[in-house]
Symmetry: C2
Subunit: 140 residues, 2 copies
């Protein structure tokens, strides 16, 4: 009946991942909240519905998803990791005023090629820091 959850389930099974309840809920959160949340934000949200869930499980699940190449981990703020279910190669913009991390659909030819100067590329991490369009407008 719950089509969204069924789809997530099928997606995990196709990748050989057991679709446990927690995994489905974490994945659902990431798919729904595409604002690059922290592990804490994910925990805070899920614990409302699943009072027994532990922070460790959230971390475990996120790291597990990253190993299985289901999500990306962003180290941008220098404070805490951000999680991104969008695995198509793209760039990010961190606003120093509002703290938002904005997606940028920028191509990267080096990444496409898969190597650079003889080094084999596995992950691409391109981001800018600055003041976002909205904050510039509002003169924050």
């Amino acid at each position: 009946m719950n089509t969204k959850m069924e789809l997530l389930k099928k997606g995990l099974l196709k990748k050989g991942i057991r679709p446990t309840y927690i995994r489905l809920k974490v994945l659902d959160y990431l798919e729904t909240n595409r604002n690059h949340p922290t592990a804490e934000a994910i925990y805070k949200s899920l614990v409302k519905e699943i009072p027994t869930i532990s922070r460790t499980s959230v971390y475990n699940t996120l790291n597990f998803f990253h190993e299985k190449e289901l999500i990306n981990i962003l180290f941008i703020t220098g404070i805490e990791a951000r999680f991104d279910s969008n695995i198509s190669p793209h760039h990010h913009f961190l606003c120093g005023k509002c703290g938002r991390i904005i997606d940028l659909d920028i191509e990267c030819n080096y990444f496409k090629k898969g190597n650079i100067r003889g080094h084999r590329i596995i992950e691409l991490h391109g981001y800018f820091k600055g003041i976002c369009k909205d904050c510039l407008k509002e003169g924050k």
Copy 2:
């Protein structure tokens, strides 16, 4: 007599920064060790020569240098910050095997322009993760 230190001193004075002993030593370390060291590595090295130096001073100095746009702070490993005295815009490569961070002299047209999609760019952070040329060769 110590020409290198005199040059560093002049560089700091030109930027309106008081060339204290610790600042000179930290800057000297970064200029000499261009392997993107951690704050801990800098502290460990300097404490040999300056037994009274504190970790806090190293952190303070590094953050101060970053505010004054003398150095870049890299958040790549997800564990700890790395410091780079090379402020000319460039990319990095993190090897998952040996852990080295390798400089890549890649141009970025968005950064040159100073903005992207209406957002004002202040810092550029481009890096790849993968296996470096040497580790590929050695089949580590």
